[in-house]
């Protein structure tokens, strides 16, 4: 589906419903700030392909057969958001530095039902986020100050509006999955497998066994023979 007026209106309706339900001042604030007739601030994504990779694939040469569909503006907003979720630190780079925005585009452009459902959530959510930022701060989300981006994210993450939480959680799920499957992400989280061992499987390292022994002692359990 396109993120069209219909989708944006669904988002609007969800926020309005929450506002009318009374809830907290936070929801009221967010609901009130949504203008009556939202426009296409981030542009309209291209239509996704209808056909996937099929049931008999050349597994030795994996390729993504469907084209990306997000607009430049959507990608910019997504990039800013995924870097808030996975920022650079001393152990690993930020999400955008290892291609996560492009993967989000790959994901929401896929023709399968689960990804199409995420497409509605994510593209609708990005549009909504952009609108919130412009209304509140007078600039688009990607160009807002860090503090302002964080403020919006905090409100969204802890919102009582199901749609906002769903957007945040799905976006985080995809961002985290995309990031920790990269070389940099696997290294960060401590995955060191996928290496052929031409001897018996050595089992846990000495360090891991020492840690386990401590844990078992704490639990009052014996280390298995």
């Amino acid at each position: 589906m396109r993120v069209d007026r219909r989708t944006t209106l669904k988002w609007l309706a969800a926020a309005m419903a929450a506002a009318h339900a009374g809830c907290t001042s936070k929801e009221k604030y967010l609901g009130d700030e949504i203008p009556a007739a939202p426009g296409q601030l981030l542009g309209t994504a291209a239509l996704p392909a209808k056909v996937g990779y099929g049931t008999d694939i050349d597994l030795m040469n994996p390729t993504v057969p469907w084209p990306r569909t997000m607009t430049e503006a959507q990608l910019r907003t997504a990039s800013a958001l995924c870097d808030l979720i996975v920022p650079e630190d001393e152990r690993s780079p930020a999400a955008s530095a290892v291609g996560v925005p492009d993967f989000i585009d790959e994901w929401v452009s896929a023709p399968y039902p689960a990804q199409q459902s995420d497409r509605e959530t994510i593209l609708g959510g990005l549009e909504w986020l952009e609108q919130q930022s412009r209304d509140r701060f007078g600039s688009g989300f990607a160009d807002a100050e860090d503090r302002q981006q964080a403020e919006l994210l905090d409100r969204m993450a802890s919102s009582d509006v199901a749609k906002q939480v769903e957007f945040f959680e799905r976006f985080r799920f995809i961002t985290v999955g995309a990031f920790y499957t990269t070389e940099e992400g696997m290294k960060d989280v401590g995955y060191i497998g996928n290496v052929a061992i031409h001897s018996e499987y050595p089992g846990p390292s000495d360090e891991a066994m020492t840690h386990l022994a401590g844990v078992l002692e704490q639990l009052g359990l014996q280390l298995p023979a």
Partner: protein, 563 residues
């Protein structure tokens, strides 16, 4: 004039490849028909390929349900052009794989022997039926099968979990941290937690290498360590010079001659769409419990108006699947633990076999059959999209989230129930009067219902699991729901068996103890269809042991010209 083979074998999975190899080894001329395409695991297995190099990071889709790299071709819960249906009020899931080697290319390799109680369940609790054989009848073939297949495990002398003969088993891999943790709790709780048995080599057999402890078995194994027929039984059978394989051959009927014997099968050549026939002195059906029943039910004739080999009316009945349920938990004691390579043999290294047979015999349990535990304890396996759930557990975002990911990754353990279903009148398959596949072959319609026996078993599993989790200070994450919600859907565990069950009585069974049709002497079934009961043990090893035993008998009978 087409060649007339000694045996036409339908299917190239566990039951078919074993039959083909045994028969070809005895000098018999064998034709194997496979409904899917040719498959070469040496050239087509994406060993070591990273999730990030696959579309959607390898996530499962309707095209590839178990993930992009899964060794399933033209298969899954739906096969293009080959539909099936569930009757109103039922939901049955039917996994097929249209490729040489069938589902053996991707299976979990869990390989447990059925035990003495498993062959005589009716005698034990008055439910279902007994098998026409007892454990001792099959034990020599279990030894032979495990020797050829290669199974790691340990003889623990446990009730109803038979030991293998000395020297048969391969040394099991060392347990991982999560497995040791579970083992420690089980030792205190008097629950056995012992080395698992999996069809994975830890010492080489011929040109099949020992496991090198990397790259998922579900993708298939190009070094031959994880057993699949395409790196073992099929090449071995071809090496005899007595096996011919025709792929893309969708068998739809058993052909009968005027004497009422099978003279071959009819099939559609999927490449041309033409109907063809293959001829043999005997026919061996090993197309899977569902597909074999479908072929028989579609083989209608004057002498068999309800389908070939179905004078008992039992073809398609007694459909069983394994009882599945799962509970997962997070363990604070596993947070921030030291990094090491936790891939191991990819599947589980230890498991919990059923341990309450005595209590059950004394009537202390509210369910009559048994289950075992499987574990997902390689918590530090290669990240896939599922790692997003760790972020969901941690909550938040930013630098704190990155710290939490390091903290929580590898702190989750999955406890999985695999239990025995008792056959019931509500679980069966039949020909769908309203539907045909793309080749014009009438399709199957499934009926399926669990009974209170299975639901009570799941409830017991949940309670026992909570006890283990609590002892380890774990926090339940999922699976703590009513048994009706927790139990798997019929077929979902992909252990469907029973549709052409063996027995002692031609009125209540389809075959005798050798998988030989009571009605058609030269027609044999060597897939899971012949199971008279569905022990909690994963069926593939038993399918192969039975297939070997049946094939020995078939060869002997052919030699004596008794067929």
């Amino acid at each position: 004039m087409q060649e007339r083979y000694d045996a036409v074998v339908v299917g190239s999975g566990a039951g078919g490849a074993m039959a083909a190899w045994v028969l070809a080894s005895k000098g018999l001329r064998v034709l194997m028909l496979e409904a899917g395409r040719h498959y070469d695991p040496y050239k087509e297995t994406p060993m070591f390929a990273r999730n990030r190099d696959a579309p959607l990071r390898g996530t499962g889709t309707p095209d590839k349900e178990f993930g992009y790299y899964d060794a399933t071709i033209d298969g899954g819960w739906q096969v293009p052009g080959e539909p099936y249906a569930s009757a109103p009020g039922s939901e049955f899931m039917w996994w097929r794989s249209r490729m040489l080697g069938g589902r053996t290319n991707h299976w979990a390799r869990n390989s447990f022997r059925m035990g003495p109680y498993d062959f005589k369940p009716y005698s034990r609790d008055g439910l279902g039926v007994d098998w026409p054989i007892e454990y001792e009848d099959l034990a020599p073939w279990y030894d032979k099968t495990e020797t050829v297949v290669g199974v790691y495990g340990r003889n623990d002398g446990l009730d109803n979990h038979p030991d293998s003969s000395p020297g048969v088993l391969h040394k099991p891999p060392a347990p991982r941290v999560g497995e040791l943790l579970i083992q420690a709790a089980c030792n205190e709780l008097n629950i056995p937690c012992v080395p698992a048995r999996r069809a994975v080599l830890t010492r080489p057999i011929g040109n099949r290498s020992a496991c090198f402890y990397a790259t998922s078995c579900g993708r298939g194994c190009a070094i031959g360590a994880a057993f699949q027929t395409t790196t073992s039984l099929i090449p071995m059978a071809l090496a005899t010079g007595n096996l011919t394989i025709v792929t893309d051959a969708m068998v739809y009927e058993v052909r009968l001659n005027d004497a009422g014997k099978a003279d071959g099968v009819g099939y559609v050549d999927k490449k041309t769409g033409k109907h063809e026939a293959a001829f043999g002195r005997s026919v061996v059906l090993a197309a899977s419990a569902g597909e074999t029943a479908r072929i028989l039910l579609n083989s209608k004739s004057e002498s068999f108006p309800d389908g070939a080999a179905n004078s008992s009316g039992q073809v398609g009945r007694n459909l069983m699947d394994t009882v599945g349920a799962a509970v997962s938990a997070q363990f604070p004691v596993l947070e921030n633990r030291p990094v090491y390579n936790e891939d191991g043999a990819m599947g589980m290294h230890v498991y919990i076999p059923f341990w309450l047979y005595k209590e059950q015999a004394r009537g202390e349990l509210d369910f009559p059959r048994s289950y075992h535990y499987e574990f997902g304890a390689d918590g530090r396996g290669e990240p896939g999209m599922g790692i997003g759930h760790v972020a969901g557990f941690a909550g938040g975002y930013g630098s704190k989230l990155k710290e939490d990911m390091r903290r929580y990754y590898g702190s989750f353990l999955d406890f999985v129930c695999r239990g025995e279903m008792i056959p019931n009148a509500n679980s069966r398959c039949e020909i769908d009067p309203d539907n045909k596949d793309t080749w014009g072959i009438p399709t199957l319609r499934f009926h399926f219902k669990w009974s209170e026996h299975e639901l009570n078993m799941v409830r017991h599993f949940q309670a026992a699991t909570k006890e283990i989790i609590e002892r380890l200070g774990g926090k339940l994450q999922s699976g703590d729901v009513a048994p009706e919600q927790a139990i798997s859907k019929g077929g979902q565990i992909i252990h469907e068996v029973g549709t052409t069950r063996m027995g002692d009585d031609p009125d209540t069974s389809v075959t005798n103890q050798y998988g030989q049709s009571w009605d058609i002497k030269n027609l044999f079934v060597t897939d899971g269809g012949v199971f008279a009961s569905k022990a909690h043990k994963n069926p593939t090893l038993t399918i192969m042991a039975l297939s070997w035993r049946s094939s020995d008998y078939l060869a002997e009978q052919l030699g004596k010209r008794n067929l």
